[in-house]
């Protein structure tokens, strides 16, 4: 008779999920699943709405990465209008996207994952959170919070508010930076560089202490997908998709994001509300691919900014790094944050960034619009079909986190098999399974309210449902 261990809810992630671990008679882990237990329904309830409202509605998908949805949605709207937006609008959108990647990554690394990394996987859960980190190293925690504040502030200056800015629109954006705002952004840059230097040094110094985790949390071959520019450099706003295998071979390159349906497909499983996208030519589930920071750092030829490229070279030179370890998402995330600071500095030096020519007007000209960009967690697609009056007939959202679904399940299973002993539950073992999920920084809904405050209940049940063991974290 086997058993099932349930971790519900998974803590320090964005959204609601649970993990089931299936254990055999000997107490060995047979398999594990990551279930997403919430349902949002955006694809359905935006039907019948005018397409130019979509950026504002879609911003509401998520409180952490509203900007990604605003941008993908605005780009889909541009496609329905059939227009090329102005260079100034493009730069403003890029600026907001970098600010958003920076703030979202800061949240993931400092607020959600640094407690595991700095205090240890087995630290007392009562203090394994950002405040515990602050008690240990106040400057480090403060820098993390300030980095997030920097990104949020740029979003606020452009979009009027930090969360859910209704700023993007089909045909451009509503507002550019003013000269005063540009100077305020510039004032944040030196501190951001210093904080990134400290965070990267700290992470690299402690990484060797996590060899077990690196080897056994999400270390498996898979495909990787990310957006690159025409020369193969890292790109977040607009480019072509590249797919690479775990050996570093380019499987497909120059893929047009608006033709995503020709190379990506979605499967579904009855035990999760999240879809399971896969690379079509390899089938399901063999076409498993990863997106997000690790994938982007893998697929690019180089990043394209000097400081981040120096870090990328070191990332690629570590002797046991073979580009497959999901635990290194954390490192890749830090490198991307540094890249974002460099790009923000570049963009605010551009005279176009204060130009007011940020909106072009047109009517509905096309029936279908597909927009894509790199969200903090990976490639995001918004696909709309409209009727002749411009009302949404069908919407499909392919979210970055969903594209990591197969990999997250595999990560959970691998971590559970290595760390969990079904006969003797320990909190630290289960935290490592959760940490596997945190590597991907999944964004399951739209808020941060799960930050270590929700009770974690783990139940060990027999196949007939009897409760064998129970651990609760309050």
């Amino acid at each position: 008779m086997g058993e099932r261990i349930v971790i519900s809810p998974v803590t320090r992630i964005e959204g609601h999920a649970k993990i089931s671990i299936y254990v055999d008679d000997e107490g060995r882990v047979e398999s594990a699943q990551f279930h997403v237990v919430e349902f949002r329904g955006f694809e359905k309830f935006c039907e019948g709405r005018p397409f130019y409202e979509m950026p504002g509605i879609m911003a509401r998908v998520c409180g952490i990465c509203p900007v990604s949805h605003v941008l993908a949605s605005s780009k889909a709207g541009d496609a329905i209008l059939g227009v090329e937006i102005t260079p100034a609008a493009k730069k403003a959108r890029r600026l907001m996207n970098y600010a958003q990647v920076l703030q979202s990554h800061a949240l993931s690394f400092f607020h959600l994952s640094s407690p595991d990394l700095l205090l240890g996987m087995d630290a007392d859960p009562a203090r394994r959170h950002i405040f515990g980190v602050a008690a240990e190293d106040e400057d480090f925690a403060r820098r993390g919070i300030r980095l997030r504040q920097f990104g949020q502030r740029v979003i606020e200056l452009l979009g009027g508010k930090r969360i859910h800015p209704s700023w993007g629109a089909p045909g451009g954006v509503l507002k550019a930076l003013t000269e005063e705002e540009r100077q305020e952004v510039a004032g944040w840059i030196p501190e951001a560089y210093k904080s990134m230097e400290i965070a990267l040094e700290r992470f690299k110094a402690i990484l060797d202490g996590f060899e077990q985790e690196v080897r056994h949390i999400g270390n498996f071959p898979s495909l990787f997908m990310g957006t690159v520019d025409e020369d193969g450099y890292m790109e977040f706003y607009d480019g072509r998709l590249r797919i690479m295998d775990s050996e570093g071979n380019i499987v497909a390159d120059g893929l047009k994001p608006w033709r995503y349906e020709t190379f990506l497909a979605e499967a579904s499983e009855e035990w999760s509300y999240m879809k399971f996208p896969y690379y079509k030519p390899m089938g399901y589930p063999a076409g498993m691919y990863r997106v997000g920071p690790l994938a982007r750092c893998n697929v690019v030829h180089a990043i394209g900014t000097p400081l981040a490229d120096r870090e990328l070279r070191e990332f690629r030179q570590r002797k046991w790094v073979v580009r497959n370890e999901s635990f290194l998402y954390h490192w890749a995330r830090l490198i991307e944050m540094l890249h974002c600071v460099e790009r923000i500095e570049e963009l605010i030096d551009d005279p176009d960034i204060v130009s007011e020519h940020v909106r072009v007007k047109a009517d509905r000209n096309h029936e279908v619009g597909i927009g894509s960009c790199e969200a903090p967690r990976g490639t995001l697609f918004h696909h709309y079909e409209v009727d002749e009056d411009g009302l949404i007939r069908k919407a499909n959202l392919l979210i970055a986190t969903a594209q990591n679904n197969l990999a997250m399940n595999k990560t959970v299973e691998q971590a559970a098999k290595h760390f969990v002993n079904g006969r003797r539950l320990e909190e630290g073992m289960l935290n490592r399974v959760e940490a596997g999920i945190r590597c991907y920084d999944p964004c399951l809904s739209c808020s941060t309210h799960a930050i270590g405050q929700m009770p974690l209940v783990i139940e060990l049940r027999g196949r007939d449902g009897e409760l064998l063991d129970r651990l609760a974290r309050n």
């Binding site: 019948g48 130019y52 509401r60 209704s166 009517d363 411009g390 009302l391």
Partner: protein, 238 residues
């Protein structure tokens, strides 16, 4: 022209004979809430938000339709009136689908301002969630019935100022809807002159300019004063 003197909220106020309590109060700086009234158009007393208490009368009176009388004592903001107004706005919010956060008019909406002013932080009634459509068949404008409060400003401005009478109301009670022509898609209306006056007087985001995204819509009503004074007083002033 005879002048009437009355007391509104303890303040001595004067108004011309035949003038509404509402106007006399506003001229004296006492702002009574309203939704269907808009200066320059006829009044219909539909929204009931401008109800006031008149001493000696057991019934509440719609101030937009009640003329001033000599010696009248009027109260515009008693706890009883506040409770009624709060309920009226809650009824409006519950009747259709008013989702401020994703509305073109968010931040510039008369219904939203009223709710905020009355301290409505939740609705005590069950939301009806009716399934209502959006008509964007017109080249420049759209109507979202989810956000319509049936104030009929659009009907009146189209009839009284533009002279087209494209808009009207069909159905009764909660099934009432504003319609264009004989309930045809707006884009197919033969009477609509595409002047956009209806859009500008609409208090919510029900009537909007196409292409506007969330919170982007602003209404400009200066035209109403311009046209009405030009017509009545032959003065072309803004």
């Amino acid at each position: 022209m005879s002048v009437k003197t009355l007391t509104i909220d303890g303040k001595m106020v004067t108004g011309a004979a035949g003038e509404s309590i509402f106007n006399a109060a506003w001229n004296a700086g006492i702002h009574i809430p309203r939704l269907c009234h808009i200066g320059g158009l006829s009044d219909v007393g539909a929204c009931r938000l401008c109800l006031v208490e008149i001493e000696g009368q057991p019934k509440l009176a719609a101030s937009c339709l009640t003329p001033v009388e000599e010696g009248m004592v009027v109260r515009t903001n008693t706890p009883r009136l506040q409770a009624h107004r709060k309920l009226i706005v809650e009824l409006l919010l519950a009747e259709r689908n008013h989702i401020c956060s994703v509305c073109v008019q968010n931040g510039n909406c008369e219904l939203q301002d009223l709710a905020e002013g009355l301290g409505i932080d939740h609705v005590r009634l069950r939301y009806q969630f009716p399934r209502l459509g959006v008509d964007t068949s017109h080249e420049r404008f759209g109507i979202d019935h989810n956000r319509c409060v049936l104030c009929t400003r659009c009907v009146r401005v189209c009839d009284e100022v533009e002279g087209a009478h494209t808009w009207d109301v069909k159905g009764r009670g909660r099934n009432s809807m504003v319609i264009t022509d004989l309930d045809e898609p707006w884009g197919q209306s033969e009477t609509c002159t595409s002047c956009g006056k209806c859009v500008q007087v609409c208090p919510t985001g029900a009537l909007f300019e196409k292409g506007k995204t969330v919170a982007e819509s602003r209404k400009d009503r200066r035209f109403l004063k311009y046209i009405v004074t030009a017509r009545k007083e032959h003065q072309w002033i803004r």
